[in-house]
Symmetry: C2
Subunit: 418 residues, 2 copies
């Protein structure tokens, strides 16, 4: 039987009591940022709950983790998680009855979500982006390495990744300025100007909870304990800039102009009912990547685009987190095998999540085959994104009578500066 | 005539009054970190100077920038720099006479450097590593692309770079744990274990002062205003891990196990007397990379290694910052051309600074030609670094009767965990 809260939550809402994702918000334009939990159409202000003394368990009593927003507060939340006193159940058990019976507190601490400003949910120390969908990798390989040998020998041996740019990670709703930069030379001189190939990438990302010390790797079978939860992510990409700069050190300015994440961190615990088997890996991974239980999550993913000339958005692609070849835990364990330290709030993108079907491809590079085919969305034709186009990613899991969702991750492309 | 301070400074000291580099330190193991300035064998405690009310100019009056260590304090320092009221001359003019005549204040604020613990001088938001020495690039290219076409077509058009890992940037003196990881397969299965090819990379790095807003590029002719100063940097590299993982997204775990920087940020202003012409660039750079005055700095660089079995270190290579093809300002302007935002404290490595001569190569990869040749340092033979080996980088400029130096950037390789 589905859990129910005294707060009315529509069955299609992304934020029933089974979810309770973590975020950071400002109730008023001039208030200070504070942590909150989404429930139905409301945000529960955790700073008010903490001030009211409701967090009286051994871990949260007198902790200021809900009063301030910084690296260490996430670290405390993560501690809860690590000790299997989950964030979700703590909030639920300590606040439900008191809130229900205390109208004044309810008034202060439950803020309508449409009234608040949502901010980045964590201070991101480092952002890493993986490349873990075999479908995305194979498609890129066919385009750029040729059909004979599209996937590199190393790809099946380790979760390939690169360091991304943390400073330009922005919250859903932030406009994305079309980057300027160089492209491959046409008549001897490189192209320079606004990128002609601005793309989206449909991704999800782990938010690191407890970190690890420099020099000490995380064991694969403990890796889940280091993941606080997941967000949706759009790794905006300028393909012309990216392809010209990328040899030999990888993507740089083709990516660093902006990366959008969704505001609510959905805990792994809330996703647990939607866990599914990870794909069989052949060749079998090395021991440090071999997990006792290897799982993915069945999260339906959608890309909608609202072309500049339309009032409505069109569905552009559907995919699923379960298509990942390398699991989230393999990604995290691999990241630390060399002793690299993760810190609370670090962001680990999955890489573009493409599926096996033509309509399950997670970026325009694949959908238009690098501009060879034109797409038509309700009559708007595109090879890459135009100024004014808005991209909206969403993700959700359908439970029995409820939905665990991620809300949306959206952004609009605006023109380059002159 | 050389400037002189009332504090005795030996002519070989790296820290005469002409330098006054910025750092962060703890006077006692249990004190809180605070900003300081190196002068001779002393550290001037800026928090004491500020508490004494000595910073009474319009910019620093009542500013708490010397009382706390965080992003915003560097931002204030940077403001000084941007307004051409330099950090160096502010400290010098406001403190010299008062300090000289106030024994109690001198006692409190001048701490012997050998008594303090030096910490990272800035909170590093993002770390980027460039690839700007043509000698290093050509040598790597000959090894891995072949002698026909060692340097890619894009290299002469833009300062190639990749995002590095900020979390594992450590202060000089921190041990570096030998990373574990995968290497290229030998009999079908990848090597796994402690890296067999741990290397150093001789680099310098810019520390960003004032940042720029996301979406707004920094003009090349204003780029110097965004550089607070320079440090020495050792970009430790595990060549076996790096080469196996690097296609197609660039270096990742082969780098992210540790990067060492020197504690003192030397301002561009202190280096100005050692400015020299940058190399002529052919083809000429695109307009956004063309600067009115294009300069390098004549900074002598040395690599010493103390092999595990020796008590003394040996000189292993000598190079010079002036060998850079792409200037520090071109690096910074390029980094922002796509709208990427830099933040105060960001670290921009130059890439390995190799010169044209066989003894001016900045890493073992080049010096031993990826292990083909063995080096002998006073009888200790090496292809790559062994556990217990210590690498000491240093840099200095020789002025008329004084030296502007960077101190040292050192680290010892210690064994992998079992
Ligand atoms: Ca990506
Ligand atoms: Ca390097
Ligand atoms: Mg991006
Ligand atoms: Mg490094
Ligand atoms: Ni930070």
């Amino acid at each position: 039987m589905a859990l129910k809260s005294f707060i009315e939550v529509h069955p299609d809402s992304h934020f029933p009591i089974q979810n309770l994702p973590y975020g950071v918000f400002k109730p008023q334009p001039n208030s200070s940022p504070r942590p909150g939990v989404a429930i139905g159409d409301y945000v529960l202000d955790l700073s008010e709950i903490a001030s009211a003394g409701l967090f009286d368990g051994p871990l949260l009593n007198n902790s200021d983790c809900f009063l301030q927003v910084r690296h260490s507060s996430l670290s405390t939340l993560s501690l809860l998680f690590r000790r299997r006193l989950s964030f979700r159940s703590q909030v639920e058990e300590t606040t439900e009855p008191t809130l229900r019976d205390n109208a004044a507190l309810r008034q202060k601490s439950l803020v309508p979500m449409n009234k608040v400003e949502l901010l980045l949910p964590v201070a991101i120390g480092d952002y890493t982006d993986f490349f873990s969908s075999i479908h995305h990798t194979r498609n890129c390989g066919i385009m750029f390495r040729g059909p004979q040998n599209p996937v590199g020998e190393n790809w099946y041996r380790l979760p390939i990744a690169y360091h991304g740019r943390a400073s330009s990670v922005v919250i859903s709703g932030t406009d994305i300025v079309r980057p300027r930069g160089q492209g491959h030379p046409i008549d001897g001189t490189p192209y320079f100007g606004p990128s002609l190939k601005v793309d989206f990438e449909l991704e999800m990302a782990s938010i690191v909870g407890p970190g690890n010390e420099l020099g000490k790797s995380v064991d694969i079978n403990n890796a889940a304990d280091h993941i606080f939860g997941l967000v949706m992510m759009n790794d905006w990409s300028a393909r012309d800039i990216q392809f010209w700069e990328t040899v030999p050190l990888g993507p740089f300015l083709g990516k660093s102009f902006g990366t959008t994440i969704s505001p609510w961190v959905v805990t792994l615990e809330a996703l647990e009912p939607f866990a599914c088997d990870a794909p069989k890996q052949d060749p079998p991974p090395l021991p440090y990547l071999t997990e006792k239980v290897s799982k993915n999550y069945d999260v339906s993913l959608e890309v909608h685009v609202k072309p500049a000339e339309h009032k409505d958005s069109s569905l552009v692609a559907r995919s699923n987190l379960k298509h990942l070849y390398w699991t989230l835990t393999q990604q995290l364990a691999h990241h630390t095998i060399n002793g690299c330290n993760l810190r609370p709030g670090d962001l680990l993108g999955t890489g573009t999540i493409s599926g096996p079907d033509p309509d399950s491809l997670g970026c325009l590079l694949e959908l238009t085959w690098n501009g060879e085919k034109e797409l038509s969305w309700n009559g708007a034709t595109r090879k890459y994104l135009e100024d004014g186009d808005e991209v909206i990613l969403s993700g959700y899991c359908k439970g029995d009578g409820y939905t665990i969702g991620f809300g949306t991750c959206s952004g609009k492309v605006v023109p380059s500066p002159q």
